[in-house]
Symmetry: C2
Subunit: 238 residues, 2 copies
């Protein structure tokens, strides 16, 4: 470590938060992007984010950005990774703490934050070039999401409060980019006892209507305390 410096030299950085906001719709995994209307990267799509206010907690900043962009509150939000290459921003040293969020896409009402920016959902498998290092951030978020739905019951955050087993299966298939075997998937998820049968069915579908379920978080918390581990497998072997 070099000799003691004037500490003030270190107080010349800025922090931002960037959110990877996942949604699920039409059988596809999506993320919410905003089109920048100012340099740098003007007209590029980017992750919603902003500077962290001087007395603001990091997670609060992420929640604020999410609220301002989508009108949503109390949604699943978790810190992902921090990106801080010296050259990642042209205004100076800007480090971004990336968060990822899982939202029910039907609840979304865009509010483009006073800036009248485009803000729309994009399917993750055909993203164009994004601003800054946001492609890398999205890649890390996708990776984390794949692992996360395997070991924690967070997939439900992307579905409406009442969902069918097939919808849930399609969600796993979309995120893992694989196909799952219907009977085994159902047996596995039902055997955990985390889904409550709502005794209601789909309406208006041109085939046998499916039963609706909800995820019972209270049961999950209890099981978790007594050592239960949520776990889904990708299988469908080779």
């Amino acid at each position: 470590m070099q000799a003691r410096k004037n500490f003030n030299d270190f107080f010349k950085s800025a922090f931002t938060v960037d959110n990877v906001i996942f949604g699920f719709d039409e059988g596809k995994l999506k993320i919410l992007l905003i089109r920048r209307n100012e340099p740098p990267f003007e007209d590029f799509w980017a992750l919603p984010g902003y500077f962290v206010q001087p007395k603001e907690d990091l997670e609060a900043a992420a929640a604020r950005v999410l609220r301002e962009m989508t009108g949503m509150e109390n949604v699943y939000l978790e810190q992902l990774h921090t990106f801080g290459s010296p050259g990642r921003h042209n205004l100076g040293r800007v480090i971004t703490v990336a968060y990822y969020s899982l939202v029910k896409i039907a609840d979304f009402r865009p509010r483009a934050a006073g800036l009248a920016q485009d803000i729309t959902w994009h399917t993750v498998d055909d993203l164009e070039q994004l601003a800054f290092d946001h492609e890398e951030i999205v890649a890390v978020a996708l990776d984390k999401l794949k692992k996360s739905i395997r070991t924690r019951p967070v997939g439900f955050e992307l579905l409406p409060p009442a969902f069918t087993l097939t919808e849930l299966q399609h969600l796993y298939e979309a995120i893992w980019e694989t196909e799952l075997e219907k009977r085994n998937f159902r047996k596995k998820i039902l055997s955990m006892g985390l889904l409550e049968d709502l005794n209601r069915t789909q309406e208006g579908v041109a085939h046998r209507p499916a039963k609706l379920y909800r995820f019972d978080e209270a049961i999950y918390r209890k099981l978790e305390e007594s050592g239960f581990n949520f776990e889904m497998k990708e299988s469908k072997s080779k």
Copy 2:
């Protein structure tokens, strides 16, 4: 989002890296702490860390701190979490990016960074009060380590290049704070085919000497590419 501000207002933060450096010795999991010799938290034990230099990458900063404190290079180092409560540092807004590191404790040669500070290993199960929010950081690191050794072959980073199966088992037991069944543990780990039998044995022990193994990273990488998932279980049932 509020009206556009002078962006300069945001460039008044500093960031640091802090390292949770894990080692394993005498059957116990340890972390490396430094005793502070200046305020704030003078005389408290703290995680090794320092300000990130203006043009330095985050991971490079973490590696630098590690090298300066321990003389070690090329060791396992991974980003953990970023801590940024507004009140966590008295000099101003300081956000810390925490890393965790797994090292072979025998390689350690302390170099107290010109500051002649105490730097010693502490067993993790009886830590006194630490400086700043470092207790929280250690708790998060421990949690991550527990999960990490379950699904990735990183435990070997804490052992010498040649180790016995019993040492490996004790490592898992120390981190998970549980006991494992010897025969099942051995069958499980050997069945993965990641350990190379070195055809050497312990010397100077007052009992039957154990065989020495090494972890074969090349094989692991190959298996991983073809879809293999490392996984150890805590079991020993209830």
